[in-house]
Structures are given as structure tokens and as C-alpha cells.
Symmetry: C2
Subunit: 268 residues, 2 copies
Amino acid sequence: MTATPPPPSESAAPASAPVGAPAASAATPAFSPLYQQIKVLMLQSLQSGEWKPSTAIPSEMDLAARFKVSQGTVRKAIDELAAENLLVRRQGKGTFVATHAEHHVQYRFLKLFPDNGDPNSEGPAQRQIIDCKRLRASTDVARALALRQGDAVLQVRRVLSFAKVPTILEDLWLPGTPFKGLTAERLRDYDGPMYALFETEFGVRMVRAEEKIRAVLPDTEQCALLQVNSQTPLLSVERTAYTYNDTPMEMRRGLYLTDTHYYRNTLN
Amino acid sequence: MTATPPPPSESAAPASAPVGAPAASAATPAFSPLYQQIKVLMLQSLQSGEWKPSTAIPSEMDLAARFKVSQGTVRKAIDELAAENLLVRRQGKGTFVATHAEHHVQYRFLKLFPDNGDPNSEGPAQRQIIDCKRLRASTDVARALALRQGDAVLQVRRVLSFAKVPTILEDLWLPGTPFKGLTAERLRDYDGPMYALFETEFGVRMVRAEEKIRAVLPDTEQCALLQVNSQTPLLSVERTAYTYNDTPMEMRRGLYLTDTHYYRNTLN
DNA sequence: TAGTGGTCTAGACCACATA
DNA sequence: ATGTGGTCTAGACCACTAC
């Protein structure tokens, strides 16, 4: 599609139709500011893989030329994408596609912190893959992943330990098709956040997530894996993670031991 | 203080010193963009009470004239304040000081939602003030509120029920000086969020909060107030709330029953 | 020195709300 | 009809990074 900027001030042409809204299927309000339309185009470049994680996107001037709009309009589109953590600006260097890998802050989505001291002092988490198997989606999982019941999914179970203390037990479900070929070995061998592996190996970038948090008691199997007794209250953290376009790509259920750690949240 | 805008392009004057940074006490980098300085000035107007919650602030043009900068610079300052939920823009009407009162979303900081249906379907929470007493700050409370141990604080205890089911037990501590005159009666009589009462009656506006979340089991007193047994796991939500300038103004500890509700969080 | 993003301005026009 | 915030442009200069 072509972006037609509004005519400059001297022109008396009627308001140009919204860019990218072909004269078909009315009924939708179908108005959106230019920079929003630019944003959609940029999202497509991200989604299609034209711009890959950790690489630089074209400069603001280049994008302005490509879309035939002013630099300021491109800038506003980038501003919003940066606010959503899809892009990262670096003055003097360029604008880069955000990534879960090569980031000083590992585990961007993990909100569990130690009571005393900073996350770095306790060192990296030890990760133990318990299981990784292919099965058919249950009703719950199918709904969360926008699949049909019985569709192929992968289920992974793992334990994270801090300072050798088992602290997190996670079960997670992934849609079978995008993650074809994922095995326990590949998970074990990869050194880095799981979401970084998803990016580099499967081209799936997690962009946003919703969590539902409850307090629960563990069943006997969970007790064994976390080495706690059945009277130890745990945080149940149920997460659905999304890629671009709000497409759900992961369902996860974590049990957090919160006697020496806490889940941190900031309210604005 | 006066804001001196940088000279227009034709002038060859050296870069003007940062506005509002008098030629004293160097050593600080002491550079900040114009719009950041404007933002600081606007924060002062909010903090001083010149602009009160739910009222309109001067228009962008007026502010531009007052600070002697362009409308675009004021706009960028307002953009940031709006992103921080301190201001609310309403097209065609003006820009307003955000408030906890008269808001379609009551309880802006409460992240507990019912499992089935929307928050509105279960109707408003029933609130029961158990206690409101004046006492001396313990070590923990003093640290959280940036007071000295032994300073006067108010302690409030209350229970929130949804559909007549006790669901939240809260203890909260407030610094004695700003909240002088707060009593159980005034809390009971006020119909609306507690933070709205703090705004209108005490001029204290909560702007931001940090929460630490854990899973715990209740003690016998808590069991009685929430009408649960001692084996019911509960969410412990420890909150510190801040006014302008990151000044802590409330410490709160909530116990949430999460069998029919969940704590929702969104990750970006 | 060149290129990038960051700031600032000035002015035009649009969309929305109110009178 | 007027005033508000929202969008868009065009151009200048600054700050940071690399070569």
C-alpha cells in the first residue's frame, strides 16, 4: 500500500481518505491518525521477520522517506512501539528490535525477587527440565492458546532453584505447530532465558503477558518436586504470553515458594 | 523562577544555561531538556495545591506563554505527566488533574478480580472498619514511611466483603501528622475509595505504589475476621504508597482470599 | 566527519466539546 | 463560533557514537 500524506496547507483538496483504508467494506469508523497507520506497517515488518530481534531498523529519515511522511510522524510511531517495549532507542546508534536475549536483565517477565539483597547476589538460577512431551490440548489449554481441543501441544515441566533451593515449579504449554522440534535436550542445552530460545530457534517473540495470581497449597507431587510439605502455602502464577497481534503463544502455570522471595509489582 | 528559552536559530549566543539551574553548586551534571524542566515546574504546581485534583490546568497555550516556551514543549511535558497518570487529557475540554474520586474505575490500585464475570457484576464492596487507633511507629513501619521509630502513626484495620463474603483483611499505617484528625467515624461515613477521602480531606494524593506479594497462612485472629480456617492459603499483599516526589505516605498489608478471586497483573 | 536519535520551534489544520 | 487537545509538517540545532 502507499502512504499518501495529507496535502500541504495551500491545497484545498478534501480531506484525504485514511491511508490504507481502501474504498471497500465501509461500516467501520476506519479513521486513524497517520502515525498509527505507520505503526501498523512497522508492526508488520516486525512480525514478518523483515526486522529481526537485536538488529537495527532503518533510521527515522529512511523510514520517513519510505512511508512518504515527515520524520516527526515516524518518530511518534516509534515512540509508541518503544513504550510497548517492542523497540529500543539508542542515541547516536539507532533504533533496535527488542529481544529477550543479550539483555542485562535476564528473565524480563519474572517478578520474583529475593527478600535480602539484589537479584544478582544470589547468582543465576539453576534450571532443571523435568519433562517435555507432546500431547493433545485439554479444554483449558486450548482456550488459552486459541486452539481447538485435541490439537497438538507441547508440555514442559521444569524447576528453578536459587542458591540450590528449589523455588519455582513451572508447567508450560506451547502450541505444537510453531514449536515443532522442541525437545527436553534443546531446552537443557540452551544457556539463557527460555524466551530467548523461542526467539532464536523458533522465531516466536513474546511481547506481552497476563498473569493471574492466587495462594494455594501443593499436592503431593508438587511437594516432592519443590521439597516442601503439604502445608506450605505457594503462589500460583498462571500466565498467558502473547506475540504480536495479541496471539497467545504460551500458557504457563508456576508455583512460587515465597518464604525467602516475593513477587514484586508496581502500581501507577 | 523564570524560564529562558534557548535563542532562536539566527542567534549565535552560547547555549543558555539550564533553566532553573542557578550558577551555584556545580558538580552535578545539571543538564536537562527544557520539557523536563517544565515538567518539574508543573509537578510543583500539583504538589503545592495550585492545581487541585479533578480541576483543569491551564491550556497548553497558556502554559506555553507562562513558561515562555513553545506549545510543543509544554505538550511533551504534559505527555509524560499523563503517562504517569498524574494528569488526564480530554480532547476538546482540557487537561485535568487525575483523582482517585469520581472515576468510573473505583479502587485504581486494587488488582483483585472475580473469577467469573466482571468487577461490576458483583456490585460494590462492603467495607467494615474494625479499628482506627493512634500509636507509635514500629521499626518496620517507621522505615517504610520514612519516619523515626516511635513517631505517631495511625493504624487502621478493615475488612472488605464481596457479595457478603469477607475477602480482604487490611491493616494500614499512616503518618500521624498529615492525617491528624482521621477517625473510624470519618472512614465509616465516607462513601468512596479511601484514597479519595485522603485527597479531599487531607490533601494527600497517592500517585504510585509498590507491592510485595507472598502466599501465607492466617493466624487465629485473621481466621476469625475472614471466616476461614487456618489451612486456607491467602495472598499477602504488602504495599507502600507514595505521593509526589516519591514520599511514602502509607504502608498497607492486605490478606486476600483467592478462592473466587485472583490478583491480575500485566507484563510488558 | 558523518550519521543517528533527541530537543525545540512555528505554524497549519483536524476533531471534539461547549455555548 | 470559539477554544481545547490531537495530528502533521519542516527545519534548525544538540548530544552521542562511530569511523
